[in-house]
């Protein structure tokens, strides 16, 4: 080896070693997080999106949220109102229906970043914005349900809500706005979504009251948050948190390895297959935590398809699909097989719900009974000689979904079913096919929900997308069951937890029997965390880990 080559090799080795050492020597008062999307806006009320919720989780706090144990807790309020503690009082509305009066008290020390106290004036202003038809708020239902607000003092208020549901005290989406700053922008309600200070002056300290406030925004690249001096709770350990948006999983990994990132968020980071590949490469500096969550992958069945209208065919499909093996092979067992749309981690999940273990013989019997016997060539035909044919659809380019789809195709072909695939770009698949109920057999996609989420929008007969409801319904398979409707209606207003548990069991039993969807898995979010970072507790639901960012620390 020549001298020059030796010199070059030594240089490369030295540089390769020196860089990580130099990085480790720096004090850890900054945390750099990678996420795969940049938020398109910052106003907490306009258009919910994971990236925005993740960042704003550090700067704002909702009144209530579900914690890591999926229990409802207060963040901005001091005590959850319940009927038992007298802070929630059922009331009869002028139309005779049942409503509820809920009294909340804002954390006494809560202040916006500019020192202005967070008060009931902010609550009233937020309500005005939320219910205004032109303000551009996507989820206005919450605000419309509030018929009046009584202000007791600067910190205490009572909401009069028009419906008494079991989750009456959950106002997770009531993200308050700073009235002293935002009122001017709301002078023109139709222009509020673009004139809000969250968009025009995102780094204004008065917009935030959490442990951190946004101090710098490089659109499309990163957001810098710094510790908020007016934060009333536990002081955060990091002075500065940088959230960088890097879309591609390989690029996220490369940035992690090069020291450009400290961690990758589970909520919006690597895909499971990319995280598994990362683990296989044995990187001792990081832990990969897979948190099973509420993203429910399933085939939605078009129950108006003549063959699939028979539930025996749907059941046969599920018996004929070895989902345990599928999850083992594709996700190395890191995801949970779903029995119904209720996650096993949810308190209302019924462990005794009907299961569909892999059983091709039973699947064959069900298909025979449904009038689809196998011919000498193995293909299943009905008495008219028509072949049992299914078309599977999903989003093109989503590798995990495409692999699950292929797995199902092979499994069902072995049952004698003719299975074809027709995938579409996500835009077409969701914007046209699913939305307009335009898939002939089965559509593979996921639902994201909250703990104890009543499946009204996905299973109620009123929610079948149609021009009549502006295609707002999400019961894309067209499932209609009076019994299911009745259970959904009953669960929503049943306040007694034990009675509700019984109703939930009945709903899951009906779902597992009727199979309006073919359950596949509950997706896991892979969190790639450096070993020195402690206190990050994945929730598995829509509330981001950043809502408890003050507990994160370097050790």
């Amino acid at each position: 080896m020549s001298f020059c080559r030796r010199l070059a090799l030594c240089l490369i080795l030295a540089l390769g070693l020196a860089a990580p050492l130099a990085a480790k020597a720096e004090p850890r008062d900054q945390l750099v997080i990678g996420i795969s999307q940049f938020p398109s806006n910052f106003n907490p009320l306009i258009e919910g999106m994971v990236a925005k919720n993740y960042i704003l989780g550090m700067g704002l706090r909702p009144f209530t949220t579900y914690d890591k144990d999926w229990k409802l807790v207060c963040l901005l309020c001091t005590q959850l109102p319940t009927i038992e503690n007298g802070l929630a009082v059922p009331e009869t509305l002028p139309n005779g229906k049942k409503g509820v009066a809920l009294t909340y008290t804002i954390q006494p020390q809560a202040k916006w970043g500019d020192g202005t106290p967070v008060t009931t004036e902010d609550v009233i202003f937020t309500w005005e914005v939320g219910k205004h038809p032109q303000s551009g708020i996507s989820n206005a239902e919450l605000f419309r349900r509030i018929r009046a607000i009584d202000v007791k003092d600067a910190k205490t208020f009572t909401l009069h809500v028009t419906k008494l549901t079991f989750d009456y005290n959950a106002i997770n989406d009531f993200q308050i706005l700073p009235a002293h700053l935002e009122r001017k922008a709301f002078a023109d309600p139709a222009g509020y979504k673009t004139h809000s200070l969250f968009e025009t002056d995102t780094t204004n300290p008065g917009l935030y009251y959490g442990p951190y406030r946004v101090t710098q925004v490089a659109r499309g690249q990163y957001v810098v948050l710094e510790a908020n001096p007016t934060w009333w709770g536990k002081p955060p350990a990091f002075k500065r948190i940088v959230v960088k948006a890097i879309e591609a999983s390989p690029a996220l990994e490369a940035n992690l390895l090069s020291g450009g990132l400290d961690m990758i968020a589970g909520e919006l980071g690597m895909t499971v297959d990319a995280a598994l590949a990362f683990e296989r490469r044995k990187r001792p500096e990081w832990d990969v935590i897979y948190k099973p969550g509420l993203v429910y992958d399933h085939f939605t069945v078009n129950v108006e398809n003549p063959a699939l209208a028979d539930k025996r065919v749907r059941q046969a499909l599920l018996y004929g699909l070895d989902r345990d093996s599928m999850v083992r092979q594709i996700f190395e067992g890191k995801q949970a097989v779903a029995d119904t749309m209720v996650n096993p981690l949810d308190w209302c999940a019924d462990p005794n719900v009907r299961k569909y273990p892999f059983d091709t013989a039973h699947a064959g019997q069900l298909l025979d009974a449904a009038g689809w016997p196998a011919g000498p060539d193995g293909a299943r035909r009905n008495t008219k000689g028509e072949r049992l044919s299914l078309e599977l659809m999903t989003t093109a380019g989503n590798r995990n979904r495409e692999v699950m789809e292929l797995y199902a195709q092979q499994a069902w072909k072995r049952l004698g079913i003719d299975v074809t695939l027709r995938n579409q770009p996500a835009r077409t698949f969701f914007g046209e096919t699913v939305l307009h109920h335009n898939f002939p057999s089965l559509a593979l996609f996921a639902w994201v929900s909250a703990p104890e989420n009543v499946p009204r929008t996905t299973l109620h007969s009123d929610m079948v997308p149609s021009p009549a409801n502006n295609f707002a319904g999400q019961n894309a398979g067209g499932y209609r069951s009076p019994e299911m409707d009745k259970l959904i209606d009953a669960i929503e207003i049943e306040l007694d937890r034990d009675k509700r548990r019984v109703l939930w069991s009945q709903l899951q039993a009906l779902y597992a029997e009727d199979l309006p969807d073919l359950p596949l898995t509950f997706r896991s979010d892979p969190y790639v965390l450096p070993k020195w970072l402690k206190g990050v507790e994945p929730t598995g639901h829509q509330a981001p880990t950043t809502l408890w960012v003050e507990n994160w620390r370097a050790e």
Partner: protein
């Protein structure tokens, strides 16, 4: 010349007008509107919310009516707000535009710096070992997927050697010119390598064709030196097709470096336009695509002027 320029500008205005309508209509034909997409991702949205938001964003009106409104506003200089970023379109375009111009000019310059001399050299040594070697290099560059190349560059120079940052435009908090150049280095090299092969092949082919022309033989017969023949006669003529390709590439480079921008998390026009089209952000997508069209037209006009400089027989009338 002034007449020709005026005519071309009128043509360009008409092309831009037609393009704006075509783009608007094509986006209108895409499945679902922004509110439909919002509704599919938000289980809590009610039919009333959908109707209210469709009215608010104006997507409940006929496409022609919406286009008319957009055109009238655009002609008065108001490009409106981006639905995706909640910012004025011009403000949204500013940063990605400057990033893309920097990326585009640097990578194009770097690519041409190597590709044109290499192409000329290969043509002069046609059929020899060096020609085969350069051809092999060109085909390798053409065949390398940019995504893969980008990742390899990141792994070698950002992860392994830690010489350069893996992604972004600048160090968090803002950096100086040197910092921005360091961030620019890997995407520029990736793009330059990707286009190097094409330009080398174009240059080589054009040069070989020029060298086989009768006027070259005549020039040699007149006793001109080989150097004079190559540089004064063959090269000027060989540059004409290369300039045509370059002019057409300007628009593509401007809007079509999506993969490079994704790999290097480099916020440029390609990603911006893609997101705007996919997110049904009419205002932003139209502005971005109009800019790309304008750049292609400008490139074409520039090429016409350069033709005249390269070949005295070509005159603009």
């Amino acid at each position: 010349m002034p007449q020709h320029l005026a005519l071309r500008l009128i043509q360009a205005a008409l092309v831009l007008l037609a393009m704006s309508f075509i783009v608007y209509a094509l986006m209108g034909l895409m499945p679902g509107d922004p509110i439909d997409l919002m509704a599919t991702g938000s289980p809590t949205m009610t039919p009333e919310d959908v109707a209210r938001l469709k009215a608010l964003y104006g997507v409940d009106k006929p496409m022609i009516e919406r286009y008319g409104h957009w055109l009238a506003a655009a002609l008065s200089g108001d490009l409106g707000y981006s639905r995706l970023t909640a910012q004025p379109v011009l403000a949204t375009l500013g940063e990605p535009l400057s990033n893309t111009v920097a990326l585009m000019l640097s990578s194009l310059s770097l690519s041409l710096l190597f590709a044109l001399p290499a192409g000329i050299f290969a043509a002069l040594r046609q059929g020899r070992l060096i020609d085969h070697g350069l051809n092999l290099l060109a085909f390798a560059a053409i065949s390398l997927p940019v995504f893969w190349l980008g990742l390899v560059l990141i792994i070698v120079f950002a992860v392994g050697l830690a010489w350069l940052p893996a992604s972004g435009v600048e160090t968090v908090g803002g950096g100086d010119v040197l910092d921005r150049l360091r961030h620019l280095a890997l995407p520029v090299v990736a793009l330059a390598i990707a286009s190097f092969g094409h330009y080398l092949r174009y240059m080589r082919a054009a040069m070989i064709a020029a060298l086989r022309s009768d006027y070259i033989r005549t020039a040699r017969a007149k006793g001109l030196s080989w150097g004079q023949v190559v540089w004064h006669h063959a090269l000027r003529n060989a540059m004409v097709p290369v300039v045509t390709v370059l002019a057409l590439d300007l628009g593509t480079l401007f809007s079509g470096v999506l993969v490079t921008e994704t790999v290097f998390a480099y916020p440029g026009m390609g990603k911006l336009i893609y997101d705007a089209v996919m997110g049904n952000d009419y205002n932003l997508a139209l502005a971005g695509l109009m800019l790309a069209t304008a750049l292609t037209l400008a490139g074409s006009l520039l090429a016409d002027i350069v033709y005249g400089l390269l070949d005295p027989r070509i005159r603009l009338r």
